[in-house]
């Protein structure tokens, strides 16, 4: 029947996840600061990563897995497949996300974006040769992504504490639930499941992972190389990216950030001439 083979394969993985989550609690939680230290408590709450030591273990596991599998596969993909074809595959896989993006556009009460997703699917599947060519973007309808984690956020759900999922990477309770709901709700998964069993779904997910890794090859490499604490950097970037996706790229109301505050930032006379020419 419809999605049952998919459920079976998830059920097969379930004991693994159970064991991992038990190991997670065994390896302990972060030490909370003394309640008297208000600044430290505020910082601890803002970091919002109560199981940090355990999450770091999973993060390192994922990183080892990346270096052993995803990174070499992406490197091979990047060097063997020309840019233009890679772009085509990227577009093709994005196009296959159209149904689930459409559903989430609707669930978020955004008919305008839903219509755009539909229009893109229509144009790209036909004129765009099964989605390989993103003709719709050229017509002023760029790709946008949505998922049920974002939908939950627009309904007012908070993200909860930071989580790192084995294999799947950075997340939080809201986005983990979202990912599971999308998996069962996605018509493409149902179609693929009925056609050929589950391998098609995993090939699709795996293909997207390789595509992502190859696409952001330089950025990921730089972050890993230049950050002092890669774990904390990824945690921060994940949250910022998710919040940006939830806002659909609109700027937030209030952005905390630095300002020019001191005389040291104002250039010395030699440099001043050059800068003042700009005004």
């Amino acid at each position: 029947m419809t999605a049952i083979p998919t459920i079976k394969s998830i059920a097969r993985f379930f004991p693994v996840f159970l064991i991992l989550s038990l190991a997670l609690f065994a390896s302990g939680c972060a030490t909370a600061p003394a309640p008297g230290d208000a600044a430290a408590v505020a910082e601890y709450n803002k970091v919002n990563d109560p199981a940090e030591p355990a999450m770091r273990v999973i993060f390192e596991f994922n990183r080892t897995l990346d270096h052993a599998v995803l990174k070499p596969v992406s490197a091979a993909y990047k060097s063997a497949v020309p840019d233009l074809i890679r772009e085509g595959i990227y577009n093709f896989l994005n196009n296959l996300r159209s149904p689930i993006v459409f559903i989430n556009d609707i669930l978020q009460g955004n008919p305008e974006r839903a219509m755009q997703t539909l229009a893109r699917f229509m144009v790209n599947t036909t004129v765009g040769f099964l989605g390989f060519n993103d003709q719709a973007a050229a017509l002023g309808m760029p790709y946008h992504d949505e998922d049920f984690g974002q939908t939950l956020a627009t309904w007012g759900a908070g993200e909860g504490p930071y989580l790192v999922l084995p294999i799947l990477g950075p997340s939080n309770p809201r986005d983990t639930i979202g990912m599971a709901v999308d998996f069962f709700m996605d018509p493409i998964n149902t179609v693929m499941s009925n056609l050929d069993g589950d391998w098609g779904i995993f090939a699709f997910k795996g293909g997207r992972a390789v595509g992502f890794r190859a696409r952001y090859w330089d950025e990921i490499g730089d972050l890993e190389k230049t950050s002092l604490d890669y774990y904390a950097t990824v945690r921060s970037l994940y949250r910022q990216r998710r919040n940006d996706e939830i806002r659909n790229g609109k700027p937030p109301e209030m952005v905390p950030g630095p300002s020019i505050g001191t005389k040291q930032d104002i250039p010395s006379p030699g440099v001043a001439d050059e800068v003042s020419q700009l005004r």
Binding site: S227, D229, A232, Q240, R241, D244, P258, D265, R279
Partner: protein, 220 residues
């Protein structure tokens, strides 16, 4: 399966035509609103010009092919110190720990922070492949800070990358205080990164300084 799938697909495609018809006027309306907000008074025009000149200057002097890495580092260091509020950013990244730092620690930290930024980003200019900066809009955040919204346009086509520049204005000078790439702020990310190191070192700035020194040395 096929019997169920095909009607779904055709409904989807029919709706798609409606979407195609509806989206064009909406896009036009949105563009008009953006223009109106950009006309607000303040430092917007100056900040936008500052960012444009920054891009021109970077393309002209930092992306030169065939110069040595050390030469590029020298150029980029000057460029970075000129155009970025290094002290303002460095201070904000430390947050409450800035107050705990001694004068010497602050100076050493700022020096290493500048070094880290220079060696982290310098190689990006070497691999420049004709990308260009497109100004989208300029919006004031408050009395002293303006955000210049831009897009990096790839010469080969493909999706543009959103970059927002937060530009501070003080004593007749413009300085970048943050760069936000696709919603991810450089200053916020560094604050998390450095903050995590300080906490691991038991709140010690000296611990951060030694981590910074190690990292910059490894990247040189």
């Amino acid at each position: 399966m096929a019997r169920r799938f095909i009607p779904t697909l055709s409904v989807f495609m029919l709706l798609a035509f409606a979407g195609l018809m509806a989206s064009a006027p909406l896009a036009a309306a949105r563009a008009a609103t953006n223009e109106a907000s950009a006309r607000a008074a303040g430092h917007e025009a100056g900040a936008a010009r500052f960012i444009e000149s920054l891009s021109d200057r970077a393309i002209k002097s930092l992306t030169t092919k065939g110069i040595t890495r050390s030469k590029r580092i020298v150029r980029f260091r000057r460029f970075f110190a000129d155009r970025f509020a290094v002290r303002g950013i460095g201070k904000w990244i430390l947050g409450r720990y800035w107050r705990k730092a001694s004068k010497d620690e602050r100076a050493e930290y700022l020096r290493l922070f500048e070094n880290l930024m220079v060696v982290s980003y310098v190689d990006r200019f070497a691999s420049y492949a004709g990308e260009s900066l497109k100004l989208v809009k300029t919006v004031p955040d408050n009395a002293t800070t303006t955000t210049v919204y831009t897009e990096i346009v790839q010469p080969a086509g493909g999706a543009a990358v959103r970059i927002d520049w937060r530009v501070g204005f003080k004593d007749n000078h413009y300085k970048i205080v943050d760069v936000i790439v696709e919603g991810t702020s450089m200053s916020n990310t560094l604050r998390s990164d450095f903050g995590s190191i300080i906490r691991q070192k038991g709140g010690s700035i000296a611990g951060l300084i030694s981590a910074l020194r190690e990292k910059t040395a490894s990247l040189k």
